[in-house]
C-alpha cells in the first residue's frame, strides 16, 4: 500500500495495461476474419452487410463490435467524392465567354474558377520556365500562333546556363559570402555538365512560382490571425491537421479539382506550404516586444504603419525562417508532385525508380539534394543576414553585385554566341547541355548496384528474411490481433492519465474516426510500421545524440549533418534503400528509420544543450562523475525536449511509411497511391490522408500534453 501511495501514476498505468491485455485475450479472433477487408465497398459478396446513409450504400464484412467496429463513416469518402463531382460539374451553371470559339458557353461556376486559376498558374510557370529555358508559349499567350509563325524571332531564347550559374553564385555571395558562392557555382555547374539542366530548371521554375505565392498567402493569413483571435481559432485545427497530413495525400483531391500537371501541383503545393508560413509569421509577430509596439503607437502609427513599419520588420528573422520553410516544402512537393504529372527532377526520379534504374535515380536524386541544400542555405543566410547601411557608399559600391551580374550576362551571351560557332551542327554546350547528353555516371552506379547484389546477395537476403519472418511478421500479427475495443481503451486511458478528461475525449474522437472508417486494419499496419521505425530511430537517435553531445565539435558536426539530411525531400531516401534491399518492406522500414532518426538525434542534442550551464557547474562542484551528471541531471531536464523530438520522429516516420507505398506496402499509403489513379479517388485519398494525420495527432496530443505538464513541473520555459 505504501508503494501504491508513493507511485500512484505507475499503478494507474499498470492497471490500464492489465485491462488492455485482458481485453485482448478475452476477445477471440472471429473465424471469418481476414486481413484484406478494405475493398469491401467495391466487391459484391453475399456475406457482406450493408447500410445506406445519405443515399450512399456502404458494404462491409460485419464482425462482433468488440473485435472491429462497423465502418459507420464508410459513406464519407463516397460522399466527399460525389459532392466534389457535383460542385465541379453541376453546381451553379453560368454563361461564360469563350475566347477560342467566340461564343458564350455554359459552365459550372467552380469548374470555371478552377480552370481560370489553372490557366493563370500555367501562365506563370511557363513564363519563368521560358526565361530560364526559352520557348514561345508566353509570347503566344499575348499574341497568337499565327503571329509567332510570322515573327519567329520573338521566341524567348532562354538564359544560357553559364549566366544562371554565375547569377546564383553572385546571389549566394551577397547573401552568405564566399563559401556559399563557391558551393552555388559548383553545384550549378555539376547540374549542367551532367545533363540535368532542363529538369532542374523546370523544378526551379515551379518553386519560383509556388514559393512567392505561398509566402504572400502565408504572411497575409498570419497577420490576420495575429490581429484577430477568431481567425486564429478558425485556422488552428487546419494548421494542426496539415502539419501531420502526409503531403502525398493532398495530391489526390488536387487531381480532381485542377487536373494533371504543373499548375495543379503549384496550387496543391501552396496548400501544403502556407501553414508553416502562417505559424512562423504568427510566432514572429508574437515575439515582438510589447514595448516596441507601444513605441510605434506612441510615434503615432496607424494600424497599417504599425504592421508594415514596426511589426513585420522587427519580426523579419522569423518571417524569413518561414520563407526558408516555404521553399523547402515547395521543393519536396515539387518532387512528390511528379505523381500528378509535374515536370522536372521529381518526374525523372520517379521514372528512373519505376524502371529500377538506380543509377539514373541516383543522379536525379543528387541534383535534387544539391539544389535543396543550396536553396536551404541561401534562404537561411538571408534570414540571418543583418541589414546593411548604405549611406556612406557611392553608387558603384552600392550596386556592385548588380553591376557584376550585368557583366556576367554579357559574357554569358558572348560565350553562348561563340559556342554556337564552335559547336556547329551539334549541341551548343555553352548554351545548354541537353538532357541526358551530359556526362552520365548512371552506368557506373548500376554496375555498382549489380556488384553489391552479386557479392552480398546471400547476406542481404538472409538479413531480409530474418527481419521479415522473425520480427516484422510477428509484430504485424500482434497489431492486427488487437480488438478494436482494446485499442480504444488503451488510447483513451493513456489520454486520461496524461491529460485528464479533455485529452481523453480528443484522442477518443480521433481514434473513433479511424476505427469507423473502412480502413482500420490498414491503419493498424501503418501504425505498426511507424512504431517499428520510431523505436529503432529513437534508440539510434538518442544514443548518437548523447554520444555526440560529449564533445563540442561532434555536437556541431552532428547538427550540421541533421540540417543537411533534413533538406532532402523524403522521396530521395528511397533511392539508396531500393539499391540495397530491392522492393521489400525492409527497404521502406530502413528509409523510415534513416529519415526519422534525424529529428530524434537533433532534439536529443538540443535538449541536452538546453540544460542551463549554471546547473552543469553546480553539478560538477557537487562532485558528480560524467555518468551521474548525464543520468541525474542532464537526462531528466532534457527529457521533455527529447519527447518533442519523439513527436517529430513519429510524424517523419508516418510520412515515410506513406511514401513507402511507392515501393509496395499494405497500409494506408498504398490506398492513397491507388486513389491517385482512381477516377473516384478524391474522397478516398482525402479521408485516408485525414486518417494518417489523425494517427499523428493522437500521439501529438498525448506527447505535447505530457511535455507541457512536465515542463511546468520542472519550471522550464
Amino acid at each position: 500500500m505504501e508503494v501504491l501511495k508513493k507511485y500512484p501514476k505507475l499503478f494507474q498505468w499498470l492497471f490500464l495495461l492489465i485491462v488492455f491485455f485482458a481485453l485482448c485475450f478475452a476477445i477471440d479472433v472471429p473465424e471469418t476474419y481476414k486481413f484484406i477487408r478494405g475493398q469491401a465497398e467495391f466487391v459484391k459478396d453475399p456475406n457482406q452487410s450493408a447500410f445506406v446513409f445519405l443515399g450512399k450504400e456502404v458494404r462491409y464484412y460485419a464482425f462482433d463490435v468488440f473485435w472491429r467496429l462497423p465502418p459507420l463513416l464508410g459513406w464519407l469518402p463516397i460522399w466527399i467524392n460525389d459532392s466534389l463531382f457535383f460542385l465541379m460539374n453541376d453546381w451553379m451553371p453560368m454563361e461564360f465567354w469563350n475566347e477560342d470559339t467566340q461564343e458564350y458557353k455554359t459552365r459550372p461556376l467552380v469548374l470555371q474558377i478552377t480552370r481560370n486559376l489553372t490557366a493563370f498558374m500555367t501562365f506563370l510557370i511557363e513564363l519563368i520556365r521560358e526565361i530560364l529555358l526559352g520557348g514561345l508559349e508566353t509570347i503566344v499567350a499575348f499574341t497568337s500562333w499565327d503571329w509567332i509563325d510570322a515573327n519567329p524571332w520573338a521566341e524567348l531564347p532562354g538564359l544560357p546556363w553559364t549566366i544562371v550559374a554565375a547569377g546564383s553564385a553572385i546571389l549566394a555571395y551577397k547573401l552568405g559570402g564566399k563559401g556559399l558562392a563557391i558551393y552555388a557555382l559548383l553545384s550549378m555547374t555539376y547540374i549542367s555538365i551532367f545533363g540535368q539542366w532542363k529538369p532542374s530548371m523546370q523544378t526551379l521554375s515551379f518553386i519560383l512560382v509556388a514559393a512567392p505565392l505561398s509566402f504572400i498567402f502565408g504572411l497575409g493569413l498570419g497577420v490576420a490571425a495575429f490581429k484577430s483571435k477568431r481567425v486564429e481559432k478558425a485556422l488552428y485545427p487546419i494548421l494542426l491537421v496539415m502539419q501531420t497530413m502526409p503531403q502525398y495525400a493532398v495530391l489526390v483531391p488536387a487531381l480532381v479539382l485542377f487536373g494533371v500537371g504543373d499548375h495543379a501541383a503549384v496550387i496543391i503545393t501552396m496548400i501544403v506550404a502556407v501553414p508553416p508560413m502562417i505559424l512562423l509569421t504568427l510566432l514572429g509577430l508574437r515575439a515582438v516586444p510589447p514595448e516596441v509596439i507601444e513605441a510605434g503607437r506612441m510615434s503615432g502609427c496607424n494600424n497599417w504603419q504599425l504592421m508594415s513599419k514596426v511589426l513585420i520588420p522587427t519580426a523579419r528573422r522569423d518571417i524569413l525562417i518561414g520563407v526558408n520553410q516555404v521553399i523547402m516544402v515547395c521543393f519536396s512537393m515539387a518532387v512528390i508532385s511528379a505523381f500528378i504529372g509535374a515536370k522536372g527532377l521529381g518526374f525523372n526520379l520517379l521514372l528512373a525508380l519505376n524502371q529500377l534504374n538506380i543509377g539514373l535515380a541516383l543522379e536525379a536524386g543528387l541534383c535534387i539534394s544539391l539544389i535543396a541544400i543550396l536553396l536551404d542555405k541561401m534562404s537561411l543566410a538571408w534570414a540571418n543576414k543583418q541589414v546593411d547601411y548604405f549611406g556612406n557608399l557611392n553608387f558603384f559600391q552600392r550596386n556592385k553585385n548588380s553591376l557584376f551580374f550585368g557583366v556576367v550576362v554579357i559574357v554569358g551571351i558572348l560565350l553562348a554566341y561563340f559556342g554556337s560557332i564552335y559547336f556547329k551542327g551539334g549541341y551548343n554546350y555553352l548554351f545548354e547541355v541537353p538532357h541526358n547528353k551530359g556526362i552520365s555516371t548512371a552506368g557506373f552506379w548500376n554496375k555498382g548496384v549489380d556488384w553489391i547484389f552479386d557479392t552480398f546477395f546471400v547476406y542481404i537476403k538472409a538479413f531480409n528474411t530474418w527481419l521479415i519472418v522473425d520480427v516484422l511478421q510477428p509484430m504485424r500479427a500482434l497489431y492486427l490481433r488487437m480488438p478494436a475495443i482494446a485499442t480504444l481503451v488503451l488510447v483513451v486511458g493513456a489520454g486520461y492519465l496524461i491529460g485528464g478528461v479533455r485529452s481523453a475525449l480528443v484522442v477518443c474522437g480521433l481514434t473513433l474516426f479511424i476505427a469507423l472508417s473502412p480502413w482500420w486494419d490498414r491503419a493498424l499496419v501503418t501504425t505498426y510500421m511507424a512504431t517499428f521505425g520510431v523505436i529503432v530511430s529513437c534508440i539510434i537517435g538518442f544514443t548518437v545524440g548523447t554520444l555526440c553531445f560529449q564533445n563540442k565539435h561532434s555536437t556541431n558536426f552532428m547538427l550540421n549533418v541533421c540540417d543537411i539530411f533534413q533538406t532532402f525531400p523524403s522521396f530521395v531516401y528511397l533511392i539508396p534503400v531500393m539499391m540495397l534491399f530491392g522492393i521489400t518492406d525492409t527497404s521502406v522500414l530502413i528509409a523510415v528509420i534513416v529519415y526519422a532518426t534525424i529529428p530524434a538525434t537533433r532534439y536529443t542534442i538540443e535538449g541536452l544543450r538546453s540544460v542551463p550551464a549554471g546547473l552543469h557547474d553546480a553539478a560538477t562542484m557537487s562532485g558528480v562523475t560524467k555518468f551521474q551528471r548525464l543520468f541525474k541531471i542532464e537526462f531528466p531536464l532534457a527529457f521533455p525536449h527529447m519527447m518533442l523530438g519523439l513527436n517529430q520522429t513519429i510524424v517523419f516516420a508516418l510520412f515515410m511509411v506513406i511514401i513507402g507505398a511507392f515501393i509496395g506496402t499494405e497500409d494506408l499509403g498504398q490506398y492513397i497511391l491507388k486513389a491517385l489513379s482512381d477516377k473516384k479517388g478524391a474522397g478516398i485519398g482525402l479521408t485516408l490522408g485525414i486518417c494518417v494525420a489523425f494517427i499523428g495527432l493522437i500521439f501529438d496530443n498525448l506527447i505535447r500534453t505530457w511535455v507541457g505538464k512536465r515542463k511546468k513541473h520542472l519550471g522550464i520555459d
Partner: protein, 343 residues
C-alpha cells in the same frame, strides 16, 4: 493658475472579463481582494491628480504597484476602465482613433525601459521615425533627427544600428526619438532602470540638464526612490494600484503619510535631500550671527558651516532678503533626530 496639462479624475484600470460591470457595481469603493476573487486584477485604483505645465511628476512604486499601468492609461496605450483623463483640457477617453493618433504625433513622447528601438533602422532612422510617420519630408526629418542626435550627444554614431550601441547609448536614442516631434508632454517609463549604476547616474544628470533646457511636462516612472528624490518636482508613491502619497520630495521625507511610505524614507540621507527652506524657521529671531545661507541650498552643502556657528544663522532668498533662520541644533535634529521613534 492655468489649466493643468494632465488631469486625472478617479482613474481605474481593472483587468479581467467583467471589469467594467464590476466597477460599476462597486460604486467607487474598489477592494482589490473582492475583485481578485472574481477573476479581476486591479491595476490602478482611484487615481486623481494634476500635472501642471513644466512640472515633473515622478511616479514611484515597486513592481506590480500599477505605476506603468497608470502611465499607459494616460498615454492611452490601454484604455482606462473608469474615470476621466484630460490632456490640456481634451477628454482623452473620448478621442476617436484619428484624434488620438494626432495627439500622439504632435503632443506626446515616450521613453521605454527596454529602449524599444526598431532593430532594422539606424540611429538616425530610429529618431526620424516618428517624423516620417507623421508624413514629414525625408530630408527635413533627417535634418531634425540630426539635431536630436547632437542634443543627446551621439554625433558620429548616427549610422550605427541599435545592436551596435551600449545600453546607455541606446537609451539616448530612445530619448532623442521621443523628443523628435517636440512634444509638450513627455512620458518616461523607467528609462534608466536597465542601465548600470554609474551610467544611470550620468544619464540622470544629463536628463536634468535637458529638462532645464526644454521645460517639458513630464511623467516619470521609476522603482528607485533615490532617483525619484533626485529628479522630481513632486512624487506620487503607489502601492497596489493606489496612490499612497503625492507630495514634494521634502514633504514626503519629513511627513510620510502612511507606514508604507515611511519605510522608504527611513534609509534616506535627509541632508542630501532636504533644502534649508524645508527645515528653517520662518520667524527671524533677534539673536542672529553674521553667516547667511541661501534657502535653496541642500543641507549637506552648508551643514558644516552652520554647525560651527554659535548663533542662529540667517536664511536669505535669491534677492538677499532674510526670510528665516536656522540654528545648529535644528540641523542636528534633522539629520540624526526624528528616527528613534521609528525604530
Amino acid at each position: 493658475m492655468s489649466e493643468p496639462v494632465i488631469k486625472c479624475q478617479s482613474v481605474y484600470k481593472i483587468f479581467g472579463a467583467n471589469a467594467e460591470r464590476m466597477l460599476k457595481e462597486a460604486n467607487g469603493n474598489v477592494d482589490a481582494k473582492t475583485f481578485q476573487d472574481n477573476g479581476c486584477i486591479v491595476g490602478v485604483n482611484n487615481a486623481s491628480f494634476e500635472v501642471s505645465k513644466g512640472e515633473m511628476l515622478v511616479v514611484m512604486g515597486l513592481s506590480g504597484s500599477g505605476k506603468s499601468t497608470l502611465l499607459r492609461c494616460i498615454s492611452r496605450l490601454t484604455d482606462a476602465t473608469g474615470g476621466k483623463i484630460f490632456i490640456e483640457g481634451q477628454d482623452l477617453l473620448n478621442l476617436n482613433n484619428k484624434e488620438l493618433i494626432d495627439l500622439r504625433r504632435n503632443k506626446m513622447g515616450m521613453v521605454f525601459q527596454s529602449f524599444a528601438l526598431l532593430p532594422h533602422k539606424t540611429v538616425l532612422e530610429n529618431i526620424a521615425f516618428p517624423l516620417q510617420i507623421k508624413g514629414i519630408k525625408t530630408e527635413d526629418s533627417i535634418n531634425k533627427a540630426m539635431d536630436m542626435v547632437k542634443l543627446v550627444g551621439l554625433d558620429g554614431r548616427e549610422n550605427y544600428f541599435p545592436r551596435e550601441l551600449s545600453g546607455g547609448q541606446q537609451q539616448r536614442v530612445g530619448i532623442a526619438r521621443s523628443l523628435a516631434v517636440e512634444p509638450d508632454i513627455w512620458f518616461l517609463d523607467e528609462p534608466f532602470s536597465a542601465l548600470d549604476p554609474l551610467i544611470r547616474k550620468e544619464m540622470q544628470d544629463e536628463f536634468l540638464r535637458l529638462q532645464e533646457k526644454l521645460q517639458k511636462t513630464i511623467m516619470f516612472i521609476t522603482h528607485d526612490f533615490d532617483e525619484a528624490l533626485k529628479l522630481a518636482d513632486r512624487i506620487a508613491i503607489m502601492k497596489d494600484g493606489i496612490i499612497e502619497q503625492l507630495d514634494t520630495p521634502a514633504n514626503i521625507v519629513l511627513n510620510p503619510a502612511t507606514e508604507y511610505v515611511r519605510k522608504f524614507t527611513e534609509e534616506v540621507p535627509r541632508e542630501k535631500v532636504l533644502l534649508i527652506k524645508d527645515v528653517m524657521d520662518e520667524t527671524t529671531s533677534s539673536d542672529i550671527g553674521d553667516l547667511k545661507v541661501s534657502k535653496d541650498e541642500i543641507i549637506e552643502n552648508v551643514a558644516e558651516k552652520i554647525l560651527t556657528q554659535e548663533k542662529t544663522v540667517a536664511v536669505i532668498d535669491g534677492k538677499n532678503n532674510v526670510v528665516g533662520s536656522i540654528n545648529p541644533a535644528k540641523i542636528i535634529n534633522t539629520v540624526f533626530g526624528g528616527r528613534k521613534n521609528n525604530n
